[in-house]
Subunit: 196 residues, 2 copies
């Protein structure tokens, strides 16, 4: 319905994460009912962001400036690098305002199953940043998955010669989480890492 332009728009909207064919149709209809107020501003915002945003040459963050807002902030502690899998993880940590150092985006995790090797990740640039000096700690904030753990182990081995402290984010019961709904792996990790 609505002609080829609308079908094309619905097809593209349906590919967004969290959207499907039905919600894409609803969204398209909503937009079409306010072409000036909603649709053209969204088209402009998409084109603007696509033109403005690029990957930071230092850490790999996506930002409209290069170096990114974090890397160019004089108040950030450059001696602590937090290594994350993707830009989404970096944004989540920034939203929580829990890290005052800088970041490094790996761009994935090692995965034998998906054929992701060290050469597919931004490892060389991380080692170069550490070897350039001034770094005292590398925090590995990788997911608590098999691939995340493999990558963390492998990175720890690679970083050891440089002498920096390599730490990993804690695993355990999420804040606000009830014990009875947690999986066995999390319960075991939380019990093992118990503190006085």
């Amino acid at each position: 319905m609505g002609g080829p332009e609308v079908e094309r728009l619905i097809g593209l909207l349906a590919k967004l994460p969290g959207m499907g064919p039905r919600s894409a149709r609803r969204a398209a209809l909503k937009l079409l009912q306010q072409p000036e107020g909603r649709m053209l501003p969204l088209a402009t915002a998409l084109a603007d962001a696509a033109r403005a945003v690029k990957a930071c040459g230092i850490c790999g963050n996506l930002d409209s400036q290069d170096p990114c807002t974090v890397c160019s902030d004089p108040h950030r502690d450059r001696s602590v690098i937090c290594v994350v899998e993707g830009v989404g993880d970096l944004w989540a940590l920034e939203r929580a305002s829990v890290h005052r150092g800088v970041y490094h985006v790996l761009g994935g995790t090692l995965s034998a199953l998906s054929g992701v090797g060290p050469e597919d990740l931004n490892v060389t640039s991380l080692l170069a940043r550490v070897q350039a000096g001034g770094v005292t700690e590398v925090i590995l904030a990788l997911g608590a998955t098999v691939d995340g753990a493999t990558t963390a182990h492998w990175l720890t081995d690679r970083l050891r010669p440089s002498g920096v402290a390599v730490t990993r984010v804690a695993q355990g019961v999420p804040i606000g989480g009830a014990l009875d709904v947690l999986d066995d792996g999390t319960l075991a990790a939380a019990l093992r890492a118990r503190r006085a």
Copy 2:
């Protein structure tokens, strides 16, 4: 995160039906990772659709041609007009391919609570279409709500002098629906409208 262009994009995406701040952020991130492959095509599709799509001068459907695809189709039965609340209802009926006549989009229902009166709906154009002749039946395909029923009653009164048959879509148990999960109103309507 990501600069003002990204924040603006997230804000606009979050207003789409079915999206919220979190899913908008995820969608923006996904788009930013493929600016050429996903983001610019979506921007173009939005601008194209906004430019191409307009309301049909006859029925009120949204389409890239005016009169719309339905109204300009020579195979449609112009003697049966199906009256719907919104364009989304029209599209749903078209997807199901259950109506071979034409449509009329009211643009809402009468609602004392929201202050929607007859002058806010496309009623004059509907009466004009019926009075122009050639119409034998008007099907009221309005929602089974209080406002939908009020509007149907009111429209039936207005259409009676013209002599056309005014029918309403049946209410009852939805196909594939189990009786025990249905509300009392639907059960009562289904029982009342029982057939041999």
